[in-house]
């Protein structure tokens, strides 16, 4: 039991108390449910691979998004993590390709371009199909550094490099916004239509 608690405690957002509660919940769970959970974890680890094109997590390479013929092959949207891809797909506003970096340049943590899937991205751009790369890294300093660094590598290839618009979040409050957000929101202002 204590070994299980130790392992659950390693999960993000799970502290010692949560780990204990989860462990006792699993103890009370019917055995076949617990076994199904264990099997799902093992199977996920065994069968998950990275898509050879976009580096997203998938069971078959190329992944379903890369195989989808209706997708715009001229645009690649670069994200930090697979969950960012999921979020953008949920938005349903984008119908191009993706590329997952599996991280972001974080100099203080010693994470540089060589630790990310940058080389794989550059390899995809060589055949001339892609005309635009959209940088959808997070609006953090590290995300900006990553976007600017990749622009330096991709720009000379004659490919347009764009960045997601940034501004005020829905439900946000102007009073509490930081000045960088306000400046960018002002730059990206849009015509009001009714």
């Amino acid at each position: 039991m204590s070994r299980l608690i130790d392992q659950l405690n390693k999960l993000p957002g799970v502290g010692p108390k949560s780990a204990q509660r989860l462990a006792y919940h699993l103890l009370r769970m019917p055995e076949d449910h617990a076994r199904a959970l264990a099997d799902a974890i093992v199977e996920m680890k065994e069968r998950s691979i990275l898509c050879e094109r976009c580096q997203n997590i998938t069971e078959a390479s190329p992944c379903t998004i890369c195989q989808e013929a209706a997708r715009d092959a001229h645009t690649i949207c670069v994200v930090e993590e697979p969950l960012d891809l999921v979020a953008l797909e949920r938005g349903r506003g984008y119908r191009g390709q993706y590329h997952v970096l599996h991280g972001v340049i974080s100099p203080m943590d010693g994470i540089g371009p060589e630790q990310l899937k940058v080389r794989e991205l550059l390899n995809r751009l060589r055949d001339g199909t892609v005309t635009e790369v959209i940088m959808a890294t997070n609006p953090t300093l590290e995300g900006e550094a990553t976007a600017m660094y990749l622009q330096r590598l991709i720009g000379p290839l004659g490919i347009r490099v764009t960045r997601l618009a940034r501004g005020l979040p829905a439900g946000g409050d102007l009073e509490y916004a930081d000045d960088i957000t306000l400046a960018r929101a002002m730059e990206g202002r849009q015509e009001v239509t009714s």
């Binding site: 100099p107 330096r152 930081d178």
Partner: protein
């Protein structure tokens, strides 16, 4: 007499050094405050879209924070940006230099030890970097000054081993010795790098701490490169740790357009004075 306990809520100015994810939507933020030194504070829920905190807690931002004392990490309850250093955020070479400086402060300072000199040094460095056309002089100045205020001032005028005044010849810079070595002592040392006359002169000028004087220095590419390599060698000895941000500095440098950051090179002429002092004449740009 009853003791006065520390207030539960306190306000401080600070520069954000770094942040990392904490839990599902929180940020653990390392700040450097003029009154409290280096602190790690927690911003719960900062990653949520409607959070009032996230944009104010980006690295290199100068902020005012309202903090609540807690058993573990003190909690950020309010944040207001004083200076966002927009020019640093919009230029890769400025950003990489600023990250480097933030790491040096992070590594060379202890938690909860007040150091107004370090805070002021970092604040002034970021302001200088915003308007600088090149990183070399501001970064070298910052390194020398940080070493000085942290108690690791390198010996640049006398041999750190035998104490003999350094002559205007090729000397040695030794991390373990904490400064320069004369040629004779350098020959006997296992951990030393050659330092040219001009490089030593520049370091001496920067060590004076005169920002205006340092700002008039213009380094040609070979001298800038030599100084970069020397300090890249020397700093880990003072910090007692390999520096992680230098990899990004190198990556940015490797991708920049040919020529220096400002697109001009203006060599500096340093004529040796009989007493080994520096004239520091900048050639016309």
């Amino acid at each position: 007499m009853a003791s006065v306990s520390a207030p539960q809520v306190y306000r401080t100015e600070a520069i954000i050094l770094r942040h990392q994810r904490y839990g599902e939507a929180g940020r653990l933020v390392t700040i450097f405050s003029p009154n409290h030194g280096k602190l790690r504070v927690l911003a719960r829920g900062a990653l949520r879209p409607t959070s009032h905190l996230a944009g104010h807690l980006e690295p290199l931002t100068k902020v005012v924070l309202l903090l609540a004392r807690a058993r573990g990490f003190d909690l950020v309850t309010q944040a207001e940006t004083l200076e966002s250093h927009g020019a640093i955020r919009s230029t890769l070479w400025r950003m990489s230099s600023a990250f480097y400086a933030a790491e040096l402060v992070d590594r060379m300072s202890q938690d909860n030890i007040e150091s107004f000199p370090i805070y002021r040094l970092l604040q002034r460095f970021l302001a200088w970097l915003e308007e600088a056309k090149e990183p070399d002089v501001p970064v070298r100045f910052f390194e020398l000054q940080l070493l000085g205020v942290s108690g690791y001032r390198p010996e640049l005028r006398s041999c750190a081993e035998c104490g003999a005044p350094l002559e205007p010849v090729l000397n040695g810079l030794s991390g373990p010795a904490g400064g320069c070595l004369c040629p004779a002592c350098a020959l006997k040392s296992r951990d030393v790098r050659p330092i040219s006359v001009n490089a030593l002169k520049v370091l001496r000028v920067l060590q004076l701490g005169d920002r205006d004087l340092a700002g008039r220095l213009r380094l040609d590419a070979p001298l800038a490169r030599e100084l970069d390599q020397l300090m890249r060698y020397y700093m880990p000895h003072a910090v007692d740790h390999d520096l992680r941000t230098t990899g990004f500095v190198d990556a940015v440098r490797a991708t920049r357009p040919t020529g220096n950051h400002a697109g001009t090179t203006a060599p500096v002429t340093l004529d040796a004075q009989p007493d080994g002092q520096l004239p520091v004449e900048a050639a016309a740009p």
